[in-house]
């Protein structure tokens, strides 16, 4: 059996672990298009902020791949020939496979705005190389405009702020972190950032980039900026899959075993379209824990297992300038809201027929693990118990049936596999 993995990110590392948990012998090759080894993408903003050195960037250390008997090929895949089961690389090298994993991740979306492609001041912050390039452009005292207030936009803004730049965030929606936060919690985070000195403009779009002079907004306002970071979202890197005829929609389509429409090709990570387990709707989730989980399961399946993957939950934890923000669940499901706030600690729950469908925790990390589990389990809990919990949230006040059920979670076998 010959395994080939395209991409050397998070899903790829998970896949190596998955394959090796079942097959210790067969050769594995990784086509590493970025040629930077296995590094943790979320750390690039820490790198830019000067809080992480180059030797602390790895997700799996180089020795890991050696120990696991993996050959890392620093090259880009340009074509998959799924008839002959070969991957053609940019250098002309041809790599044959029996089982292939597409773990090509995503890329930032660049909107079609006049001036955006012509200006050297417009950058993205998505790769380690982006961070290295930005590192050279950062000038304390100058202004940077960050387009988009998603996770990447917020973390980019924080890093530039910590490097002494004046930072303005422009968000098209009427609140920041729209995928993660409710209106009320978004206001609190916005106040926190504004108190630190970050300027935030919501409900406005950048309509033009004027080179060194900055940006123009939809309402005609002009902002002077020496640097513009585009962080309005990402899109799966689909071309390899689409070009060889695999079924794709917003992302590569996979079945519950993470197999694409070609039986020898699997896919995992930001490149796939999966299900939001809460809503049941197809979704491109683009989250690191899911990328690792999917890679791990796909790897096992490539080695002959039949692990099924139910889909993912939208979930994120992020620190910005001393504030911890954790959110999970679906913003789309309406329900009853439960609020608690004390100083800068804030907890918001949304339940639907007694089941938790969303929570937002600001500076309240300790209760979030059980809350995530309550969303996943969709355990029905009486309103009186939610009331008791929210009156003084803490592990001591979780519903008793949660603690009873959780004893089984350690032995949760939902991710275990049937060997075939």
């Amino acid at each position: 059996m010959k395994y080939v993995i395209i991409g050397n990110g998070i899903a790829a590392a998970g896949a190596v672990e998955g394959i090796r948990s079942r097959d210790r012998e067969s050769p594995i090759a990784i086509i590493d298009g970025e040629q930077r080894g296995s590094y943790s993408r979320p750390l690039i903003t820490y790198y830019l902020a000067g809080k992480r050195k180059a030797e602390q960037m790895h997700y799996r250390p180089p020795a890991f791949f050696h120990q696991q008997g993996v050959t890392v090929i620093p090259d880009r895949a340009v074509k998959i020939d799924n008839q002959t089961r070969q991957v053609i690389l940019q250098s002309g090298l041809v790599v044959g496979y029996d089982r292939l994993l597409l773990a090509t991740g995503a890329s930032p979306i660049i909107p079609e705005i006049p001036g955006i492609r012509q200006n050297g001041c417009v950058k993205t912050l998505y790769t380690w190389q982006d961070a290295e390039q930005l590192d050279l452009l950062v000038t304390p005292g100058q202004r940077a405009v960050v387009m988009g207030s998603g996770l990447i936009g917020i973390k980019a803004a924080e890093a530039l702020y910590q490097r002494g730049m004046q930072v303005t965030i422009i968000e098209k929606q009427t609140q920041i972190l729209p995928r993660l936060l409710s209106r009320t919690s978004a206001e609190l985070v916005k106040e926190h950032l504004q108190d630190k000195g970050i300027e935030i403009i919501t409900g406005q779009e950048v309509t033009r980039i004027n080179g060194d002079n900055g940006v123009e907004l939809a309402d005609g306002r002009r902002l002077t900026a020496q640097l513009v970071i585009v962080a309005i979202g990402t899109r799966p890197n689909l071309s390899l899959a689409a070009d060889c005829g695999l079924a794709v929609n917003q992302g590569v389509l996979v079945d519950s075993h993470l197999r694409t429409s070609d039986a020898n090709i699997f896919a995992a990570g930001d490149v796939i379209e999966t299900n939001d387990i809460l809503t049941g709707y197809p979704a491109v989730m683009a989250l690191l824990p899911l990328a690792h989980r999917e890679g791990f399961l796909a790897g096992q399946n490539m080695a002959g297992a039949a692990c099924s993957y139910p889909g993912g939950l939208l979930i994120n934890s992020v620190h910005v300038l001393g504030m911890n923000i954790i959110g999970a669940g679906s913003p789309q499901i309406p329900g009853q809201t439960w609020l608690w706030q004390q100083g800068n600690h804030y907890l918001e729950l949304v339940t639907e027929s007694g089941r938790l469908v969303r929570y937002i925790a600001l500076n309240m990390p300790q209760v979030t693990g059980p809350l995530t589990s309550l969303i996943e389990k969709q355990m029905e809990i009486q309103d009186s118990l939610w009331q008791e919990f929210i009156s003084q949230p803490g592990l001591n006040r979780l519903p008793p049936m949660y603690w009873e059920a959780i004893k089984e979670v350690a032995d949760n076998d939902s991710y275990r596999c049937r060997a075939i």
Partner: protein
């Protein structure tokens, strides 16, 4: 391997967490040094729930969700066994805290704090050794609690 807590024997005295803190961060089990002069940082905590109490400590889950979710690779589980944190690599993003169903991982400054089964200590983990009522036991995988 993990420490199992029997709530029927737990007195809620909290010696487990005190010895846990004193057993880490270089205090070498010296409670005075940890609590009088240092910053005690226990890696496990007591839960008081209704009329019961127990030590809430890492279950070293098979296929641990925290290890899967860790964004830096700081959390590792070798051979599906004990879950360790490399405090040098952790950036305290709290993603692990967010996915631990027990609430077992604790916020820390540079790195999150979690049970390492006192790997540097000879013999039983500090909490187990300190429990005056035999409410804590170290069990191996496959062994019934």
């Amino acid at each position: 391997m993990k420490v199992v807590s029997y709530s029927e024997y737990c007195l809620g005295c909290g010696l487990c967490r005190i010895h846990c803190a004193a057993g880490h961060d270089g205090y070498n089990g010296n409670i005075l040094k940890a609590y009088k002069r240092g910053t005690p940082r226990p890696r496990a905590d007591l839960i008081f729930h209704q009329d019961q109490s127990w030590l809430n400590t890492c279950q070293h889950c098979p296929d641990a969700p925290c290890v899967n979710a860790c964004i830096t690779g700081a959390l590792q589980q070798y051979d599906r066994g004990v879950v360790y944190i490399d405090e040098e690599i952790c950036v305290s993003c709290y993603t692990c805290i967010m996915v631990c169903p027990y609430g077992h991982i604790f916020p820390g400054e540079q790195a999150v704090l979690k049970c390492d089964l006192c790997r540097e200590r000879p013999g039983q983990p500090a909490c187990v050794a300190a429990c005056p009522n035999g409410a804590l036991r170290l069990v191996n995988e496959g062994e019934t609690a």
